[in-house]
């Protein structure tokens, strides 16, 4: 290998190894958090349901849910400007409604406060109330907004995703023995083991990592790369109409007209979509002569996440227009979006997504560990950059899971009527995360690993217990009732706790057997070669 390197003046493998290391380090801590919370978000509706255990609804047909929602809206907001109705499905059991009030014609009047989204029992149309929480939505939002004000969080997440993409490409170029690495994992060999673990987690799921990174960028492409639209269209709305179809925008006339029943429209749309289900229904100017009802197709049963839409008259139910059939490019980007979100995935594929996401998290985590382990010299005091990177590794890898567990524990332990309860849960996650990370900074590094991993493990193992003590949906009763969501949640928390506990035990072992370390670290110091050629 060293011969090859000296022949090609600036060896592409060398430069790629160098850039891979730095990209991975600088974006790594944020990428770790994005990967972990994104992986959890594959169970976004399930986490929300777990976080509101007092809601236990049973699925109904979409037409029934639409009927009960419209009946409720006719009671509470018959003259609103728009009704947004998100229909339930097998995973999200409540109907969600959002009302947009008609703006006050008096320009001096204060704008009406934005109404909150409400949830309804799809069988009865009655409002469902439960403890205030962000639920799984919190992990999902954090995954691409990083709890940083708009638009900076999304830009930072995009920059890190670009670093990830470049790191994947440079990582593939760096590793010439990629298929051998697939089968190589040597335990308890210090740096060697971290390199093997990084290679195995990266290579096993390489197509997934590449796919999820690229499609992640595509989810926000309109924000990150709007310039081709600017180059072609004077008004971006023209582009949107060409791709998604025209949105009805008739002003209300004030002439009252009874709203047409919605169930027949759902049947007709479903027929037009070859059996596809509607996910969302938007009613404009309800009970007015200009009323329209737009149905948007669900992405739950198709790969392309951008389903079509059909506009019906809200007075006589005539079909007015529909979104144009997607061309190859629109289809491709819709499928990319669908691949990222994974909403089409059934239980088996969803768990596969989850495990692949964990492999991605492990790839980033082991890469971060490798960076510090590789640069440590035996016997020498590590320089400031390494000590900083080591602490940040603890802060991301051990303290973020602890924060996530604290978020879930807070959900069970905070009083149900606490004001701004949902926000308090979120604050508790960040206080736990950053608080533990700060504590870890003042402890010896090996102890910091053992202690923070152990705290995280205990927090996860405590979750099933706290759930059983604070709700009537504990493990035994859930198992007896066939409430598999709660059973699986408890088991997943125990497994996570066990994994973190194993990590704590390994960290303790390594710190009590320091004799093992020098053997790996005392090898000739040639960091470039290490990165270029694994053997």
């Amino acid at each position: 290998m060293s011969k090859v390197a000296s022949n090609e003046a600036p060896g592409v493998r060398q430069s790629m190894a160098w850039i891979h290391g730095w990209l991975g380090l600088l974006a790594g801590w944020i990428l770790f958090a994005m990967f972990l919370t994104g992986t959890a978000s594959y169970f976004r509706p399930e986490i929300t349901r777990w976080m509101q255990p007092e809601i236990d609804l049973h699925p109904v047909a979409p037409a029934t849910a639409a009927d009960t929602a419209v009946a409720h809206l006719q009671k509470v907001a018959p003259t609103a400007e728009q009704w947004f109705i998100t229909l339930p499905d097998a995973r999200t059991t409540a109907t969600r409604i959002f009302i947009r009030e008609r703006p006050n014609p008096d320009p001096n009047a204060k704008p009406a406060p934005r109404r909150a989204e409400l949830r309804l029992d799809p069988a009865t149309g009655e409002e469902v109330t439960a403890r205030d929480t962000r639920g799984g939505e919190h992990f999902y939002r954090f995954h691409f907004q990083l709890q940083i004000p708009h638009p900076w969080g999304r830009w930072l997440a995009g920059l890190c995703a670009m670093a990830m993409l470049a790191a994947i490409i440079s990582g593939v170029i760096t590793h010439k023995r990629i298929f051998v690495d697939f089968f190589t994992l040597r335990w308890s060999k210090g740096q060697r083991s971290w390199l093997d673990a990084h290679n195995v987690s990266a290579v096993i799921a390489l197509p997934f990592h590449a796919m999820i990174t690229y499609t992640g960028l595509i989810t926000l492409v309109a924000m990150y790369m709007p310039w081709p639209i600017e180059a072609n269209y004077k008004d971006p709305a023209t582009f949107e109409t060409a791709v998604f179809g025209a949105e009805p925008d008739g002003e209300a006339t004030g002439l009252p007209a009874a709203l047409t029943p919605v169930a027949p429209l759902i049947a007709r749309a479903s027929e037009e979509w070859g059996g596809g289900r509607p996910a969302t229904m938007v009613v404009r100017n309800p009970n007015d002569a200009t009323a329209t009802i737009t149905l948007f197709q669900s992405a739950k049963d198709r790969l392309n996440a951008r389903g079509g839409s059909i506009v019906f008259s809200g007075v006589d139910g005539r079909r007015l227009s529909a979104s144009p059939p997607p061309g190859p490019a629109a289809e491709t980007s819709g499928v990319m979006l669908g691949l990222h979100m994974g909403s089409f995935a059934g239980p088996v594929l969803r768990w596969t997504y989850f495990l692949l996401g964990l492999a991605g998290t492990a790839m980033v985590g082991t890469g971060l560990m490798l960076w510090t382990v590789k640069r440590k010299r035996p016997g020498a005091e590590p320089f400031f950059g390494i000590r900083l990177a080591e602490r940040l590794n603890v802060g991301a890898i051990a303290c973020l899971p602890a924060g996530m567990a604290a978020f879930l524990l807070a959900n069970r332990l905070l009083p149900a009527t606490l004001p701004a309860r949902g926000d308090v849960e979120v604050s508790i996650m960040f206080w736990t995360w950053f608080g533990l990370a700060a504590l870890a900074c003042v402890r010896p590094i090996r102890r910091a690993w053992t202690e923070t991993l152990a705290i995280a493990a205990v927090a996860f193992v405590a979750l099933p217990l706290v759930n059983a003590l604070t709700t009537d949906r504990g493990f035994v009763r859930s198992f007896a009732n066939g409430d598999w969501l709660f059973v699986a949640f408890d088991l997943a928390m125990l497994a996570t706790g066990a994994l973190l506990g194993f990590g704590a035990w390994r960290a303790a072992q390594i710190s009590s057997h320091p004799a093992r370390k020098p053997r790996a670290a005392a090898r000739p110091a040639n960091p470039l070669r290490e990165a270029v050629d694994a053997r």
């Binding site: 670009m162 309109a222 081709p228 269209y233 490019a329």
Partner: protein
């Protein structure tokens, strides 16, 4: 690459210039390049626009890596900023199609 990390202030300045060219210049060059393709490609406007947006990140990633691979900073700067200003300039002259 490794030699550039020697820590002198000149080396640091060059690395900063290289990183700025790669990250900011690379973004501008990728955006200009794919937008120009979208503007002149002889296919449906909406389709060309979506293809350009979808493929833009691959172009950006390629430019980003090349900017750190090529040892001659001057060549990197001329190529990337040249591509950025060149494509954006042509687009400005062409104006939007629709």
């Amino acid at each position: 690459m490794k030699g550039k990390m020697a820590g002198s202030s000149i080396a640091n300045g060059r690395m900063a210039a290289r990183a700025f060219t790669a990250i900011v210049g690379g973004y501008a060059a990728a955006a200009g390049f794919v937008s120009l393709l979208a503007r002149i490609a002889p296919v449906d406007r909406a389709e060309a626009t979506i293809w350009a947006m979808t493929l833009s990140f691959l172009v950006y990633a390629g430019l980003l890596l090349w900017a750190f691979h090529e040892t001659r900073l001057a060549r990197v700067a001329v190529a990337i900023w040249g591509l950025a200003f060149g494509t954006v300039g042509i687009l400005w002259l062409l104006g939007p199609a629709l």
